[in-house]
């Protein structure tokens, strides 16, 4: 047993899990506000990362300018996507809307390959030191940034949904659109805002992962990875999504440890969360924090 390795992996799991959690939260945000299951969530990471990469390598902008600019771009992008593609589909069957997001996912993956090629592109070095040592554990500097950003985003979500008028309006819309309208809330505006925030937050994760392992279409796999996280947490719980993400991150890394030490089956990292997903759906079909529809007779 290598305890050091285990600790290292658990730490990595927490950091990557926080990123999953951030993506899962933004997925849940769209689902809660507009009842759309967004299969193009991973493409938000992908496009955000490519946008930032392009600004940094092609325009040679420093990271602290390029990063915010790409986030601003993604915010507008999410909003435009909702207004142009999703808004006309309001009132259509759920399956049509899901198919539209699947279509968007394929379209944007192909578009990114066409624009930037099929090879993974590394980010220019951003931090003076690649790794820092914390209590004997090696942590990439960008992961520290990622952890800080994840925490900021979580706090931001909490503040937004508890105190800000737009956050409250969003929760009101998620609860009952008719009632929200009677209180002067514009439902189309809330939908557009939820997509904008979701794209913004996801692209933060996209850039972080891009900095660590290069930008490639593999980033859109995160859009699939969020499913175990959100199912674990309950599809309509923002806090649950965050915890689900962290659990999935740790689970992946522990599974890898177990696999490398004893099982040697290979590829447990990617598969373990989905095993967990199936087991959880069998035991708690509404997830750990999801709304249970109780029927009173």
């Amino acid at each position: 047993m290598e305890t050091g390795l285990l600790f290292q992996l658990v730490l990595n799991g927490l950091i990557v899990g926080a990123l999953y959690g951030v993506v899962a939260m933004s997925f849940v945000l769209i689902y809660k506000a507009s009842q759309v299951v967004n299969f193009a969530q991973g493409e938000f990471l992908l496009i955000g990362a490519w946008a930032c990469w392009w600004l940094l390598t092609y325009w040679k902008l420093p990271f602290w300018i390029g990063f915010p600019v790409s986030l601003a771009f993604m915010t507008v992008f999410g909003m435009v996507l909702q207004v142009v593609v999703l808004r006309p589909l309001i009132g259509e069957p759920v399956i049509s809307v899901i198919m539209a997001t699947v279509g968007l996912s394929i379209f944007f993956q192909a578009l990114m390959k066409w624009m930037f090629g099929v090879f993974a592109q590394p980010f220019p070095p951003i931090f003076p030191v690649d790794q820092v040592s914390i209590m004997g554990l090696q942590v990439q500097s960008v992961y520290l940034l990622s952890l800080a950003l994840s925490l900021c985003i979580m706090l931001g979500f909490w503040w937004f949904f508890s105190f800000s008028r737009h956050g409250l309006a969003m929760r009101a819309t998620a609860f009952d659109q008719q009632v929200a309208q009677s209180l002067g809330i514009s439902v189309p505006q809330v939908f557009a805002m939820s997509w904008a925030i979701s794209a913004l937050v996801s692209s933060v994760a996209g850039v972080v992962v891009g900095v660590v392992s290069g930008v490639s279409s593999g980033l859109s796999f995160y859009g699939i990875k969020v499913f175990p996280a959100v199912i674990l947490g309950g599809l309509d719980s923002v806090v649950g999504a965050m915890l689900g993400g962290i659990i999935v991150g740790v689970l992946e890394n522990v599974a890898q440890y177990v696999d490398s030490q004893w099982l040697n089956w290979g590829n447990m990292t990617n598969i373990a969360p989905f095993y967990a997903l199936i087991i959880i759906l069998m035991i708690k079909p509404y997830g750990l924090f999801g709304t249970k529809n109780i029927e009173r007779v």
Binding site: R165, A180, S182, L183, I185
Partner: protein, 263 residues
């Protein structure tokens, strides 16, 4: 006599072949309590929904303060001064009482997304003003003791009161109440009647209300309209309405044979 604040002109509403409303015309005068009564399925809620913008009339027009609002979106009607409560409790169950009421202020807050987020400019000052308005409403409806409780955990009577508070927070000049006293006990009904009278007299709000409790309706309404099968039967003061033979038959259980119904 006060001028009309709300006018419905020949409003018809059809869902496919079902006629929910047929050529209903009425007006509500400024500063009055106006009630709509009628049996279940008479179209009372449909009429209120046409005013609040949830439904668009198939024919006819609705105007508010002289302005045609027939096609106006439901959310914009809050801004022109119309608020409402719902027949089935529609509180945001996971939010606290305070947050529920704050949502009602939404359309009055000007600070945009970024400004609000960063708390710069007038955002802070604005929020304090809204807090004050909300406190006033909480005091008025006597719900101080539950302000931080999640709305879903409250008793039925209290939830009805919080829902009224949320509609009042919109600062409407016309407030639509869909069965504000349904399912309440006598004491709760008396409280609610008092709140409605105060809203009307001290807060200067015009009230358009649907209610089944005839005692309350006749006590507090200035004028009453009776709907039956989507048509207006009669409109007038409580005394005039009670004198109408069909109303007496329907509500007071008078013998049909005793007074012939006019054709």
């Amino acid at each position: 006599m006060e001028p009309a604040i709300l006018e419905a002109d020949n409003v018809s509403l059809r869902f496919g072949g079902v006629k929910a409303l047929t050529e209903v015309s009425f007006h509500v005068r400024r500063a009055e309590i106006f009630s709509i009564i009628g049996p279940n399925g008479a179209g009372k809620t449909s009429m209120v929904n046409c005013v609040s913008g949830r439904y668009r009339p198939t024919e006819g027009r609705v105007s508010f303060e002289g302005r045609d609002i027939t096609r106006m979106g439901a959310n914009r009607r809050a801004a022109v001064g119309i608020g409402r409560t719902f027949q089935n409790l529609a509180l945001f169950g996971h939010m606290s009482v305070l947050q529920n009421i704050m949502v009602g202020r939404h359309h009055l807050m000007r600070a945009g997304f970024l400004r609000g987020m960063l708390h710069w400019g007038g955002a802070r000052k604005e929020e304090i003003e809204h807090r004050r308005a909300v406190e006033e409403i909480i005091d008025f409806l006597e719900i101080q003791h539950v302000r931080h409780a999640p709305a879903g955990t409250l008793s039925y009577g209290l939830r009805k009161r919080v829902e009224l508070a949320r509609a009042v927070a919109v600062s409407p000049r016309l407030i639509l109440l869909d069965e504000p006293m349904a399912g309440m006990n006598l004491e709760e009904k008396e409280d609610m009647a008092r709140f409605i009278i105060d809203l009307n007299q001290e807060w200067g709000m015009t009230v358009l209300m649907i209610e089944h409790d005839m005692g309350v309706v006749m006590d507090i309404s200035h004028r009453v309209m009776v709907l039956d099968f989507g048509r207006k039967l009669v409109e007038g003061t409580p005394a005039e309405v009670l004198a109408h033979p069909q109303v007496r038959r329907a509500y007071l259980g008078e013998d049909v044979g005793a007074e012939p119904v006019p054709a």
